[in-house]
Symmetry: D2
Amino acid sequence: MTENPEYNNWGRWGAEDERGTANLLTGEVVARACRVPTQGRVYNLGIQLRQGAPIAGRRISPVHLMSSDGGDYAALGREDWGTADDYLFLASGGTTHIDALSHLWYGGRMFNGFSFREVRSSGAARCGIEKVGGLLTRGHVLDFVDVQTERAGLIGSADIAAYVRTRGLDIRPGDALLFRTGWMEAALTESLHGRAFPVVDLDAAGWIAEHDIAVVGADNQAVEAVAGRGVLPPLHQVLLRDLGVYLMELLVLAEPARDRVTTGLLIVAPLLITRGVNSPVNPLLVV
Amino acid sequence: MTENPEYNNWGRWGAEDERGTANLLTGEVVARACRVPTQGRVYNLGIQLRQGAPIAGRRISPVHLMSSDGGDYAALGREDWGTADDYLFLASGGTTHIDALSHLWYGGRMFNGFSFREVRSSGAARCGIEKVGGLLTRGHVLDFVDVQTERAGLIGSADIAAYVRTRGLDIRPGDALLFRTGWMEAALTESLHGRAFPVVDLDAAGWIAEHDIAVVGADNQAVEAVAGRGVLPPLHQVLLRDLGVYLMELLVLAEPARDRVTTGLLIVAPLLITRGVNSPVNPLLVV
Amino acid sequence: MTENPEYNNWGRWGAEDERGTANLLTGEVVARACRVPTQGRVYNLGIQLRQGAPIAGRRISPVHLMSSDGGDYAALGREDWGTADDYLFLASGGTTHIDALSHLWYGGRMFNGFSFREVRSSGAARCGIEKVGGLLTRGHVLDFVDVQTERAGLIGSADIAAYVRTRGLDIRPGDALLFRTGWMEAALTESLHGRAFPVVDLDAAGWIAEHDIAVVGADNQAVEAVAGRGVLPPLHQVLLRDLGVYLMELLVLAEPARDRVTTGLLIVAPLLITRGVNSPVNPLLVV
Amino acid sequence: MTENPEYNNWGRWGAEDERGTANLLTGEVVARACRVPTQGRVYNLGIQLRQGAPIAGRRISPVHLMSSDGGDYAALGREDWGTADDYLFLASGGTTHIDALSHLWYGGRMFNGFSFREVRSSGAARCGIEKVGGLLTRGHVLDFVDVQTERAGLIGSADIAAYVRTRGLDIRPGDALLFRTGWMEAALTESLHGRAFPVVDLDAAGWIAEHDIAVVGADNQAVEAVAGRGVLPPLHQVLLRDLGVYLMELLVLAEPARDRVTTGLLIVAPLLITRGVNSPVNPLLVV
């Protein structure tokens, strides 16, 4: 794939910018998003972190271990008081997570032209997740379970346009799209076998770019189809690297879908992992 | 310390409740908190996760390791494209974190009367952090740097009352108090040595209980004084265990303090660690 | 299962002993074992530590991560010099390992009568692996691949006796038995499916006890059949807890079997994990 | 430092060799080493793996966590039976360890001319520790505590020669030298402050090369002086990279020194970490 001159945000926020479409979340956009909730209902879009949870790719699921617990006090016959503490070992991308803009590159360059050589064992010296910080914006749930797409199983620009029009969604610059495909619910109930789920297709990039979407998430492993070895996922290329759009994977969207939520206040609060290329998150959607 | 009959929320939200003061964050409270921001300015209250960062107690600071990076591609002479991925190993309480209500107990019982025996190597079967989910409420910054307290170095009920009155803060049930003591800024600049910082005192529990505060945080290691070995921190006892109030530690409050922020929308989105007794968080304060 | 009065080494090496049959490895036994090798050929009986390697039970396979590597220097264009360093995260029992005597108990007591309450989140205060240290003894390879056992698939005392007699093995107190079943080779080549492999049966405990065997290992997950949930593996009970015999699992015995090795100098050098209940090891067999 | 034409083993064991001086440990050498022990006394030269143990450089000390323990059963009131299991997170070089030959390079090449580019996030494709396997050889304890060296604090070739001559040590190709400096005992008793300990100097490389020593270890952090940032330790360069000699650090030599052990059977059994650049070990010395 060659560079895409039409869909490109390099330089848009200055030559030193490492935050991409996070720049679209101006004070005005954030303040407006905060006015969306009327019921004050909070949806947690993260999956539980535990061994055996669904993961993306060949990563491992999180390992949770206790360094102190009630059992220790029980064993000592100290029935009175105590404290508990715990440790976590995880692949940052092995649970619900947000990709930093340093997660991927092509043509030797990540978003805004920074060299891939900035990403070493010490982490990403450019476009690390600690540069992003909390994101607040309007998030729209696009529920493609039981929606017929133009090309079977592939969600493209025309499908998004039709969906938005039919539901009367009000899309503005800086907004987030959260795609529900049904994959996560199947993964959590171990009923993936033999079933197919729609994925967001490269063709969707046009619509996303034209509407200045800032964040794209999905309830599956890679938003788009899981890439084979030796293949760089094409939608990731355009979104993360050309446009500086943030991707979130492994979302749980069953509850907002059940409640027929269309638009809410989306909050993503990445851990400020120094030079991190991903962060586990529990995104919130508030209506 | 004996049980405190005046300050106790056991049974208030039912015998099976595991969420404590998170119950105060009703739809109405959340919706009202979302109306606080007017500028749309977002403060990240988490510290960066990296080796050597300030920690609480004898925990270790987070270890961040890359499982794939640009260096790998450079070494292979594959200048074109690639992806980066990372791992994290951390003490859940060894960075900015929220305590689950299962973090501490006395009299053999944690919040709402659940047995400490529910907390084992498999984690907390009761009051685990995955039961809490995202918290949105109004958060007030109480900046006690350069404030004279009644008893030197100890922030008590009278001090909070005076602070609130003087600044004209509007405190309501479900609100959060975020204490700035100066400790974190000193820790981050390695200038802790030989200096003293105020701490929140057990005496503050009365004011907190009477005002139905839901979350108490501070920019230090334990909100209150760091307990010695064999001592259960007394304020933790009342807040976490008697009242079901959430505690957050190792906050960074320098920026909101610099901007003289008093009240904002506080957002805490714990990772849904199955049976976790803490979660690392990057709390957001939005004004 | 009730306690076994006939096969029991409690008190044999004193009331405070935490080393069990490691006591059989006297200077004389060790010196004699060192005289076994004549060719100086060294077999490594450990499997490789890597993600996806065969494991025992529901543990995870080891995760190996680099904190510094050549790629970093390549990315920096520093072609001259550099160093590499790495990290390891592992379930101590998730690769070739030796069980400490604190790994299992029944009747509320582990080997030599120590209470199970000595094993807490801080590890095993009694019978920890750091008390064991290096073990040197004569090790015999008992290759039961293609050997007909009395009861199909179960290796019992009579089978061992017959094997030893037929091959003319010279068994002495303190010796080690290393059972080859073929499981590991099938696991490493992913050909486990639909195949059955022999396991050492509880019935073997008698022969092991009567011959004062110090160490029993196998090329499978649990020496004996993998126990279901809620079942304490019966051979483990007698060997670890009643007799203080050490168990090693996930051995690779293909090479010594190929070379028809019968007896060699077995060397096990556990990491001195403070209060550890297992240790990963790369046991050596020297002939 | 430029390449050293006099002290160089590249190509000596073939162009594809990844084992360096491990090749000196022929069957004859191993068999002969096994004949050294007469008393059968086993010394464990590894330190205990625990948080807070002495480490090398800026690594972290090992973290040991329990995934199941007696406390869990005590908490459940299941006094009868149970099992314990544990996890380990460690910097491979953060405890007693052996360096793989891939640990260091200069002139763009590691031992035997392999490119430093072979060492990436996936580990060392060349000269990984899993290629080494168990090492058995004669090990000599050189106790330089209270020994006057020619240049104060620096152990050079003349010092080794004098030590060997005075004590009548019989040094042969493939042997190991284990230097005691007193550092470890001071570190373990927290009495390092203000004290100086001898280190092995670059000058020692000549003697080591001329005598075809296979393994060099010490009871300190780096055998030689700890290098500053931006400096490649010069003795490491010659030993690991030019000669393919293995280095071991953080040994505990107090006990063999106390017993005035001079020569024993040294056994090093690295974990077969796939592509590892170090391995934690508990080396054994048997007399």
